[in-house]
């Protein structure tokens, strides 16, 4: 027998957390532009610029579509990224993350990407096709070191569930304090740079080469949806990193402190994802862009070699 009241509360919480995720994503867009501007010795836009941009895109008077496959992009990208967010433990709150694991999250992240790719391909613009090609190749490049580190963590913690990994890092026993996973965090942070599509790995977007790549034909509400996807993507990817290495931002246990713990954990989680994003921004602000094969070689040569060393470390360390 399903408890309908509980279910309703859960759905409401899920909606609230999703809305919060989107709000934080938009805020991050503003923060990112502000920080980059300060590094460039500019004033930069106001911190709430992300909200204005998205609202503006949704208030555009006319929108164009290249057909029903083109619309997949707007639908799948927002839906997929929100779904992925629901499967992540956020500040120790496990919404659906008990129902899936890291493999599910990695594959759920492909739903928005594939929807986006379908829409971009359906637009028929060659720039979009080239951009998608680059995006997929960047994905192939950064996934190898990332999965190496994640698999090392799975074997170390003997679980594949992200919620359990977060649980096992409670009481400030964060993975990053273990030497091998400190190196792992560095490797994963490089991969995160590619995941966030920040320089030097902003190859798929590359506005000066291929006219912003896959987004070339999107305008108005379609672009608004894609902006939401991109902004939420920042939150999802940094949260994944924080959950893996920084204990998901859990500092107080809920059973001991009650609602205060939720509040503090959320604030710590926010500061941590901001910090992780901040590192990515610093790298972004000062680097030029790689070519695609350079990115592939970077990840598969240098990053992956460190990843293999971590795997060997774990392989030798874990005995049955």
């Amino acid at each position: 027998m399903v408890n309908y009241i509980d279910l309703t509360i859960q759905i409401l919480v899920a909606m609230g957390v999703t809305a919060l995720g989107f709000a934080i994503g938009m805020l991050f867009n503003g923060i990112a532009r502000k920080i980059t501007a300060r590094i460039h010795n500019r004033v930069g836009p106001p911190i709430y610029q992300g909200y204005i941009d998205v609202l503006k895109l949704f208030t555009k008077k006319t929108n164009i579509s290249h057909g029903w496959i083109f619309d997949f992009a707007a639908l799948f990208s927002v839906a997929g990224i929100a779904l992925t967010f629901l499967f992540l433990p956020v500040a120790g709150v496990t919404l659906l993350s008990g129902e899936g694991d890291i493999f599910l999250i990695l594959y759920l992240l492909a739903i928005p990407a594939l929807g986006f790719a379908l829409g971009a391909g359906a637009s028929g613009n060659p720039n979009a096709a080239v951009g998608i090609m680059r995006a997929l190749m960047t994905m192939l490049a950064y996934e190898l070191p990332l999965v190496m580190v994640i698999i090392a963590m799975m074997v170390y913690y003997d679980t594949t569930s992200l919620a359990v990994i977060v649980q096992k890092q409670a009481n400030m026993q964060w993975a990053i304090f273990i030497p091998v996973f400190f190196i792992g965090a560095l490797v994963a942070d490089m991969a995160l740079q590619g995941m966030l599509m920040e320089k030097p790995f902003d190859i798929p977007i590359a506005p000066h080469e291929i006219a912003s790549g896959p987004m070339v034909e999107f305008g108005g509400k379609h672009l608004g949806a894609l902006m939401l996807y991109k902004m939420m993507g920042i939150v999802v990817e940094t949260t994944l990193f924080v959950d893996l290495f920084l204990g998901g931002g859990v500092v107080l246990s809920v059973s001991q402190f009650g609602w205060l713990a939720y509040l503090v954990n959320f604030i710590v989680w926010f500061l941590l994802i901001l910090f992780v994003f901040f590192i990515a921004l610093l790298i972004n602000a000062v680097f030029p862009r790689f070519r695609i094969e350079q990115a592939l070689k970077f990840y598969w040569k240098y990053d992956a070699i460190v990843g293999i060393l971590i795997l060997i470390w774990i392989f030798v360390g874990v005995t049955i």
Partner: protein, 618 residues
């Protein structure tokens, strides 16, 4: 009843063979004959502890059948494993035949005859209970495949299939001989094996023989040639159905005949038999290399062929690991691969039927012209790329979980990367064929081609929602090996590491999709032409609306540049070197044929001495 089935099959083969001039009539007859294995399957459902309503098994097949053949007895009997693989083949086969009815415009009687013979062979293989029966039906299947390959008419395909088929048959036969030498019986159930090296040699030979049919690297060389040069419905059946027979054989002999405990007695590593460990590593390599090679292809069928090799590699990994979790994953992957790869090959056939092209760089923009073909392809591609909105994900997930559970630290990243590589070639198919610039003004594929495709998509959706039903199917198979099925409910699979709840994914996705849909519907939109594109301001009317906008030629050029040097000297080169060495050896060996009777008698004597000595020393 089985006698009757075989008789009907043989009769059907003769009739459709004679109806070569009337392809439609031959197709319809072949379709009705092809349904029989499926009815047999339904009537045998009690083997899997499934109770179907009586109107679903109105034909009553006996569960075992024997025929005395002089040296041995042919024994056919339904087993849970056979039932499972028969499910794949017998549900795929009628759909393929149905597709062919409109696909062939002329001269198809031989095709249907050979297809029916192939199915008859497969039917026998899946039911066989002794090595003799198994081998006889295996040869029937192999030779009728050869007939179908010859219909394709490509010399390289025929030669490579013939040589690798012969190699496969030799390896299997030699393995059977060793087993018979060891046990003195043909019947699987009566074999009592021990942990001797002879058995290890036999099982290694048998597994490598089946690996040829399963297109495991480096035995895969024939597959791309045959897949890319034969007729589409046959390739769909070959890749989707017949390649599974290789894995059926591996499973039968590794876990049915030899058994997990005996495998472990030849050495284990972290709880996994070394034999299985080797197989898993080979499988992972196959998955990765097949994927990389698939990304490099331009021919749609070659791409799908290499993709098949890569996806079948996952099954090998699962069979190698050998835990209940891994075997469930491998069987699930086999089921998914049967259906999605068949749909992809059939869709390629439908595209060819309408456009006459197989090269990805020459196609484009068919998504709006053939929407139902596109959607069927899209669904299969979701399954191929293991996107969690089809059942493809559950299979891969089980395999990943199995690998992590047994701490396969170096195999799992390769599996995951091969999974990401699948996105690359999957998108190449989608973009190159269905998206982008509309180049052809064609109609949707005919209904008799769409219906099979969509029926084959159905299992992918059913097992997405109810992965637990699939685990139920595997329970009797695992029971036979002394294992228990993994814990599950209809919507959920539990492992020792995590759980996977499809309801959460589905309802979460529906909910978020609803949210996205509201956002998307917030503003009206207008449709624009495909040429109304941002091309740095170039107005299309300047070029008579004739701008080439499809970027699918050499789509992954940077990828090719990076990987090509490592894959330049492929497996084909390896076999060429082996052949060259064999030729040198052969020309040396020819010198012993002196033509003098005395010499020959000395050879015979030497041979006997060696054989007897070997037997004594063993």
């Amino acid at each position: 009843m089985i006698t009757l089935t075989i008789a009907i099959f043989l009769l059907g083969i003769i009739i459709v063979g004679l109806l070569n001039r009337y392809p439609k009539a031959a197709g319809v007859i072949a379709f009705f004959v092809s349904l029989i294995p499926f009815f047999a399957l339904l009537s045998w459902s009690s083997v899997m502890n499934i109770s179907l309503p009586s109107y679903l098994h109105f034909l009553n097949f006996e569960t075992s059948w024997q025929y005395n053949l002089g040296p041995g007895t042919l024994i056919l009997q339904i087993t849970p494993l056979g039932w499972f693989f028969l499910l794949l083949l017998s549900s795929l086969f009628p759909m393929v035949i149905l597709f062919s009815i409109s696909f062939f415009r002329s001269n198809a009687g031989g095709f249907y005859a050979a297809m029916l013979l192939t199915m008859l062979g497969s039917f026998g293989i899946l039911l066989a209970q002794d090595m003799l029966t198994f081998y006889i039906f295996w040869e029937i299947m192999s030779w009728s495949i050869l007939a179908l390959v010859i219909r394709g008419g490509d010399r390289k395909a025929i030669v490579s299939y013939l040589s690798f088929g012969a190699l496969s048959a030799m390896l299997i036969l030699f393995g059977f001989m060793l087993l018979y030498f060891k046990t003195g019986t043909y019947v699987f159930a009566e074999m009592h094996l021990d942990a001797s090296n002879l058995v290890l040699a036999a099982i290694s030979l048998i597994v490598s023989g089946f690996a040829v049919k399963g297109a495991l690297m480096p035995m895969h060389v024939w597959a791309p040639h045959v897949y890319s040069k034969s007729e589409e419905p046959f390739v769909a059946f070959l890749s989707g159905g017949l390649s599974k027979l290789g894995y059926f054989g591996i499973m039968l002999f590794m876990y049915g005949v030899v058994g997990f405990s005996l495998l472990s007695s030849w050495g284990t590593f972290r709880g996994v038999p070394l034999f299985g460990y080797t197989l898993a590593v080979v499988g992972a390599f196959t998955a990765f290399a097949g994927t990389v090679l698939a990304v490099m292809q331009d021919d749609l069928r070659k791409l799908l062929a290499y993709s098949s090799i890569g996806q079948l590699g996952y099954i090998t990994i699962g069979l190698g690991i050998g835990t209940p979790l891994a075997i469930t994953g491998a069987l699930f992957q086999a089921l998914n691969h049967t259906f999605f790869k068949a749909v992809l090959f059939l869709a390629a056939g439908a595209v060819y039927y309408r456009t006459g092209k197989y090269k990805i760089s020459e196609l484009g923009g068919l998504g709006y012209k053939m929407p139902f073909t596109f959607l069927a392809t899209l669904f299969s591609i979701f399954a191929l790329a293991a996107i969690p909105i089809t059942s493809g994900f559950a299979a891969k997930w089980l395999l990943y979980e199995a690998a992590i559970e047994k701490k396969f630290l170096f195999v799992t990243p390769i599996m995951l990367i091969a999974g990401v590589g699948a996105f690359l070639y999957a998108y190449k198919i989608l973009y190159g064929v269905f998206l982008g610039e509309p180049r052809y003004d064609v109609k949707e594929a005919p209904l008799s081609q769409l219906v099979p495709m969509w029926i084959l998509v159905l299992p992918l959706i059913i097992f997405l929602i109810f992965p637990g039903w699939f685990v139920d199917l595997t329970a009797p198979i695992l029971q036979g090996y002394g294992m228990t099925a993994i814990p599950h409910t209809p919507f959920m699979i539990n492992t020792s590491l995590a759980k996977y709840n499809t309801l959460a994914v589905i309802f979460g996705f529906i909910g978020t999709l609803l949210f996205a849909f509201i956002l998307y519907k917030s503003k009206p939109q207008e449709r624009v032409e495909h040429l109304d594109n941002y091309l740095a301001g170039e107005p299309p009317e300047l070029y008579n609306y004739n701008i080439a906008m499809h970027a699918s030629s050499k789509y992954y050029e940077p990828f090719d540049e990076v990987f090509y040097p490592y894959f330049k000297k492929g497996a084909e080169r390896m076999w060429e070197i082996i052949l060259a060495a064999g030729e040198v050896f052969g020309s040396g060996a020819r010198k012993i044929y002196t033509g003098i009777v005395g010499d020959y008698s000395i050879y015979i004597l030497l041979f006997f001495l060696i054989m007897v000595g070997w037997w004594l020393l063993w």
